[in-house]
Symmetry: C2
Subunit: 215 residues, 2 copies
DNA sequence: TCAAATATTGAACGACCGTTCAAATCCGGT
DNA sequence: ACCGGATTTGAACGGTCGTTCAATATTTGA
């Protein structure tokens, strides 16, 4: 019997995977609203119209649900950010789309708010797993800023602090955004992008800082 | 017996008030780290080196502890913001100090991180009480932005979205700031202030928008 | 159609939760 | 030294928590 330690066989049917995703959707919303510890397995089961016991067919424990919420959202935004990097050579254009896309994920895709979820409830390896992805995303954002500064398209700024400011402004959306509000995702995204691109605009026009050594 | 509905007499000795504040300090840190529902009365009592039962001598229930955490932090920042408004006539200078002070409260005064605490666990009147204060603070920030735009010191922007971006960048600090990190409160504050003041700088120099009607 | 595979139930478990309160302890003022 | 109010204890309460699992229901594939 190959590969049988705890689980006899990896579950992988489309039916199984679909319900697993549905549970994550429900869980993200609940965790955001009432916190991880404040959400019971019964709460999640009720929203699924199932008993809480059935959840253990899909996840080994409650913490793993939170873990998968984080991983799913981060993998998604990492993929999106990778696409942005591939499409845009100019750092200022890349930053603009990065902001717009992040806001869109945060607002439109319900599970995007997982990006603003608490890490405190994750322990050991699972925490490390999530933090690694979060760091990778932050590194991509910082890289865009760094290149912009180097090319003279952005004024010289503390890249780390600037990245935190951008991430904070966007992730904080989860705290105040309500559907049927005045501003939609792209209105918010465009406004935030304008804000930070102007904040980073170099003193005069065009590129001015030490001309790039390569090309 | 005057004023005896539930509590025979209002407790007000300096000893009592000091310990009550100490409990709030402990609670803010715990709530930030493990969430409201994830923090037990036993946890708070342990940090106080008391039994959980003793906490009920100071607060009628757990939710009231969270409530007072919020109210204390908001009242403090409201007072600070009032001072800023009194000291600065020019909106750009007011905004700079507002940002610096908010960051300072967030970083230095441990209980400042209460400003980034969850509201979801508060119910009914207590939620309303906190939201009223939060709205008052947001209104002061928006007013500074509005006056800046009106005077032509800021470019015309969506004041509400801009205020959210600023608050998000600052409140998000609670998520990443660690003591003994590289940047101190005033480094962060100055950088964030620079960022947003440049983001709001009008197209050319000085005031240009429709000249203010008064003066 | 029916057996196998997949999915869900419902009861039970020990642990810990917030809260209460009479009794015990602490401690400043005299 | 001691009184009396301020403070803390420790046990107990009903309730809910996450988790387990044998039994059962549902769906799938031949």
């Amino acid at each position: 019997m190959p590969g049988s330690r705890k689980e006899s066989r990896a579950k992988s049917g489309p039916r199984f995977l679909a319900r697993r995703d549905q549970i994550l959707d429900i869980a993200v919303a609940a965790f955001r609203q009432k916190g991880f510890a404040g959400t019971s397995m019964q709460d999640i089961g009720r929203a699924l119209q199932r008993t809480k016991g059935s959840l253990y067919y899909y996840f080994p424990d409650k913490e793993e649900i939170l873990h998968r919420c984080h991983v799913r959202a981060l993998d998604h935004i990492l993929a999106v950010a990778g696409g942005v990097r591939r499409r845009h050579a100019r750092p200022d254009q890349a930053l603009r789309e990065l902001i717009v896309q992040h806001v869109r994920i945060m607002v439109h895709e319900f599970h995007g708010t997982a990006l603003a979820l608490e890490l405190g409830a994750l322990s050991g390896p699972r925490l490390q797993d999530v933090v690694r992805r979060r760091d990778r995303y932050e590194a991509m954002l910082r890289e865009v800023l760094r290149r912009g500064v180097q090319q003279g398209r952005f004024r010289p700024v503390d890249v780390k602090l600037t990245a935190f400011a951008i991430l904070g402004a966007i992730n904080w959306i989860a705290q105040w955004y309500r559907e049927h509000g005045e501003a939609g995702a792209d209105t918010i995204g465009a406004h935030f992008a304008d804000l930070f691109l102007r904040a980073l605009a170099p003193p005069r026009s065009g590129r001015r800082a030490r001309p790039s050594t390569l090309h």
